[in-house]
């Protein structure tokens, strides 16, 4: 095992500064690791070895000339395959887009490139980010390094595994209902979803526009905060982008008094083992002076239902552009326009995507709009308000990220069961608040995550508290796959 692989992103940056490591060396180490482990794990759907090494060379020239490097400059990164990369296939792991090569970079990709971070490749995901296990990918599922018979979570399963299996020091995912935090929890890494609008969505292939947000995967909180500093900021190309935001989260001061709310609704239906794990954690943290209080937030119980109306509604409209006319999969045997569109969409999309489109089309249709979509938006407002009330009393809210550790492939075949995987994480998307998952313990030899939610635009506070908790818990990231 190459020791480079175990370094955190900020540690790699430090090594560059003192010329202890070259960027080419580091990039090569991760590329080798990918080439060795990917046939089994299937976390990457494409690897861009050549361009990564070219970027590394540029950074090494700067290092040789003792030029000052930017934050994380030269630290390799993996991108979820729903972020558009100019000249490199961006497939959303769908048959529909297998051959789609964008002519433009997403804003995050542009920022990564401008910062000379070698892009290692594009990671596997649930088709169009719809799923919680990475099993709906057209390219086959990704395996969890903690136990290769289990799922890595989803939809950003590939990015979570890239960190967990030491294939990349950093990765980006996207989170619509928990798609960063849930796989981070299942894979024992840090995954963070920022406040809605902190990271530009320009060039992110949309699933549900009002919920989608790009965020970092990393080994620890410090890396997460540093990577968010690189990718965040107002973008005139995204009308929902947050104006006038602070974009440097690297100074994480020690918080003085920490007051954390525990929404009862999130602890209600846990099994005994899980309950015990989180009981032990809060006790341990209380002993360090953190104050915990239980609170009632009944509207959270409506989170999944609300999401199951809003997300498909937006998706049904966002995915209308995939009609076989201009790009993407087209059925060539069709005899008429309508037949061409119908067959292209029927054959190009997988079952879960079609389920979302059907649901969404239904809830937006005339006569259903008021009963479903409008009502869901009203509930969404109530959830937002409940969070605002909670944050007037507490610095952050805490819950488990998931109710159980990961599960075996094919174990959850009922879509409703699958949707419940996001029960803890969905409310943060509905409210637009920042939230992260931090590895916190083990159940049945599988990792569990601690879900921390902060107030809108209070990333700095969320990271600072998370860092303190990280220090107290001292979770060991190492999984069996590290030795492979």
């Amino acid at each position: 095992m190459n020791e480079i692989l175990k370094l955190s992103a900020t540690e790699i940056s430090e090594k560059y500064k003192i010329k202890d490591l070259s960027c080419s060396e580091v990039t090569k180490a991760f590329l080798d690791r990918i080439n060795k482990t990917n046939p089994e794990l299937n976390s990457f759907v494409s690897v861009s070895e050549k361009s990564a090494m070219e970027t590394a060379k540029i950074v090494d020239e700067k290092i040789a000339k003792s030029q000052k490097l930017n934050l994380l400059e030269g630290v390799p990164i993996a991108l979820k395959d729903n972020m558009c990369t100019n000249g490199v296939a961006t497939t959303c792991c769908s048959k529909m887009l297998v051959n789609f090569v964008p002519s433009y970079d997403a804003t995050v990709v542009e920022k990564i490139k401008n910062n000379n971070m070698p892009i290692l490749g594009k990671t596997n995901m649930d088709e169009f980010a719809m799923g919680t296990s990475t099993e709906t990918s057209f390219f086959g599922s990704t395996k969890n390094p903690w136990d290769i018979n289990t799922v890595p979570g989803g939809s950003s399963g590939g990015s979570a595994v890239a960190i967990s299996a030491l294939q990349a020091p950093l990765a980006l995912g996207s989170d619509t209902g928990g798609s960063i935090r849930q796989p981070a929890s299942f894979c024992g890494v840090v995954g963070m979803k920022p406040t809605y609008g902190v990271v530009s969505r320009y060039g992110l292939v949309a699933f549900a526009s009002s919920l989608d947000q790009i965020g970092p995967f990393s080994k620890n909180i410090k890396d997460s905060a540093t990577l968010l500093s690189v990718i965040s900021g107002y973008d005139a190309k995204d009308s929902t982008s947050q104006p006038n935001i602070k974009t440097n989260y690297t100074e994480l001061s020690e918080p003085k008094e920490i007051k954390i709310g525990l929404p009862k609704e999130f602890f209600a239906n846990l099994d005994n083992k899980t309950k015990e794990l989180y009981k032990n954690i809060t006790t341990k943290l209380s002993n360090e002076g953190i104050i915990f209080e239980e609170i009632d937030m009944p509207s959270l119980q409506q989170g999944v239902q609300t999401y199951c109306i809003i997300a498909p509604a937006e998706a049904s409209s966002n995915l209308a552009r995939f009609d076989g006319v201009r790009y993407g999969y087209r059925n060539k045997e069709a005899k008429s326009l309508v037949e061409m569109m119908e067959l292209s969409r029927s054959e190009g999309f997988g079952a879960e995507v079609k389920r979302k489109i059907l649901l969404g089309t239904y809830v937006l249709s005339s006569g259903c709009y008021d009963i479903y979509y409008k009502k869901a938006q009203q509930v969404r407002t109530i959830i937002k308000n409940d969070f605002q009330k909670a944050f007037s009393k507490y610095d952050i809210l805490l819950s488990p990220t998931t109710t159980t550790p990961t599960f075996a492939f094919g174990e959850k075949s009922n879509p409703l069961e699958m949707y419940m995987n996001d029960i803890m994480t969905i409310p943060a998307n509905l409210a637009g608040i920042p939230a992260l998952s931090l590895p916190c313990g083990i159940i049945n030899n599988l990792p569990m995550g601690l879900h921390l939610m902060g107030n809108i635009l209070e990333e700095q506070k969320l990271f600072s508290i998370a860092k303190k908790i990280e220090q107290i818990l001292g979770f060991n990231l190492q999984n069996p796959y590290w030795e492979k």
Partner: protein, 480 residues
């Protein structure tokens, strides 16, 4: 039975902005297909819309000009349907929160003034264009080509109340809208090229009945003539059905100008479910008082106001004031001309008959000639000072238009100055009297027409340069 016709118009005005509604692409017409396109307006994955603020300004301007309420909190909505000319699978439009509402417009038909309500004005994107091979429709075409130059070009849809009662009123209303959009400079109003398009909602009801009859929406009205003809035949069709005891079906009908007939496109049952919902890629657009005030300050003087001013301060007749303000370009030309000292009434006459007449003959626009307001004023002042006659002025106008030389220069070159010199003119008059003894006899016998003949001869002899007033006086004194 006595029937009353009820019409409402939906007018789509293409905004004359530099860029498209939701991206930075050139919004102007291009004959080269797919040259004014980008990943955004071709609906590529991951692309996001950004509202062109100029279109919002234009819509506010239109709203202010038609006395609408301007909505503070605006929302864009997606209107969904599948068609190859619609790259995103939805059109970004406004649904239940349009930018302008409750406006009104005054029209005049045969001296009757009426106020027509404006229900709403909203902003939306245009779709692309399809070219079918071997057919005029997609069903029978061997293949179809997609041109997305027009995709996301900004439109404002102006919807009237069902207040119009005849085809003439509908035309007067449409012309008024065209006049306003052209005055504001927000749209060129060209119906033939499709930058202004019109659909008519037509129904009839027995006179005196309050409840509206079932309507049909007539589409594809590409000229004022088409609006008139289509409405008239649709009214006729509906009355025929009702008088035969039939029922009108709510439907959309396509007007065919060549055959002057309408054909059913789809009934209410086949109407699309557009699944409107607020576009989650766009935040609500807040239009505050400052924004409205800023646009208000940009508003030009509108035709009605101009007309009033001309009547009140320039003493123009209602008719003259009305025709000279029809087009802003003409009104502007008029105002600049009189600023050089020509008389308003004469200036109107000259612009409307001589200037525009000559230009029309040569298929030119006012802006395309070398005639400037200053040159026209100089010409008119020469007539006023009796340096030349109106007749001479008419002969040199085409030259001014062609060359841009001033009138004085042309008169000098051609020796066209009017003869007002009594001595010189007297000789001519005497010669004419001598040569036309028989006519003189007729005059003395009381034939007034004969007099005109002598004046004509005087003008002819002087090569049209004789001052008609002085020639008349001389003729009078010499004949007595």
């Amino acid at each position: 039975m006595n029937w009353e016709v009820v019409i409402g118009l939906e007018i789509h005005a293409q905004m004359a902005t530099k860029s498209k509604l939701m991206c930075n692409c050139d919004a102007s017409f291009s004959s080269e297909p797919n040259t004014h396109v980008c990943p955004g307006c071709t609906g590529q994955p991951g692309m996001l819309p950004v509202v062109n603020k100029q279109v919002v300004d234009n819509a506010i301007m239109l709203g202010l000009a038609t006395k609408c309420d301007i909505r503070k909190l605006n929302e864009f909505a997606r209107k969904s349907y599948f068609y190859p000319d619609l790259p995103g699978g939805y059109q970004i439009s406004q649904y239940d929160k349009p930018i302008c509402e409750n406006g009104k417009l005054e029209i005049e038909v045969n001296g009757n003034k009426r106020t027509i309500g404006i229900t709403r004005i909203h902003m939306e994107e245009d779709a692309g264009k399809l070219v079918h091979a071997g057919s005029d429709n997609i069903k029978d075409a061997s293949y179809s080509l997609v041109d997305l130059n027009r995709a996301s070009v900004p439109l404002c849809e102006i919807v009237s109340e069902p207040d119009l009662r005849s085809a003439e009123e509908a035309i007067a209303y449409a012309q008024k809208i065209r006049q306003i959009v052209r005055y504001l400079g927000v749209c060129d109003g060209n119906m033939e090229e499709g930058s202004m398009r019109c659909d008519a909602n037509v129904s009839v009801r027995p006179k005196g009945q309050i409840k509206l009859g079932t309507k049909a929406e007539v589409k594809n009205l590409n000229s004022f003539k088409a609006i008139e003809k289509a409405i008239n035949i649709e009214v006729e069709r509906q009355i025929d059905i009702l008088e035969d005891g039939g029922e009108i079906i709510q439907e959309t009908r396509h007007y065919n100008e060549a055959t002057n007939s309408t054909k059913s496109m789809r009934s209410k049952e086949d109407a699309h479910d557009y699944r409107y919902f607020p576009d989650p890629d766009l935040v609500p657009l807040l239009i505050d008082d400052d924004w409205i005030l800023k646009v208000k300050n940009l508003l030009p003087e509108l035709p009605e106001e101009k007309k009033e001013r001309y009547i009140n301060s320039l003493s123009l007749s209602e008719y003259d004031a009305s025709i000279i303000t029809t087009e802003k370009e003409t009104a502007d030309f008029f105002e600049e001309t009189i600023s050089y000292g020509s008389k308003p009434k004469e200036t109107v006459n000259w612009i409307m008959s001589e200037v525009l007449g000559t230009l029309n003959q040569n298929n030119l626009k006012l802006s395309e000639t070398k005639l400037t307001p200053k040159l026209l004023a100089e010409l008119l002042i020469l007539i006023d000072k009796n340096t030349i006659s109106g007749k001479i002025a008419k002969t040199i106008l085409p030259e001014i238009i062609k060359t841009g030389k001033n009138a004085e220069e042309i008169i000098k070159e051609k020796g066209l100055a009017q003869v007002s010199d009594q001595g010189e003119l007297k000789k001519i008059v005497e010669t004419v009297i001598k040569e036309n003894a028989k006519v003189v006899e007729d005059i003395k016998n009381g034939n007034p027409k004969a007099r005109g003949f002598l004046i004509g001869q005087i003008m002819k002899k002087s090569n049209g340069k004789a001052n008609p007033g002085i020639a008349n006086e001389l003729l009078n004194s010499l004949l007595n």
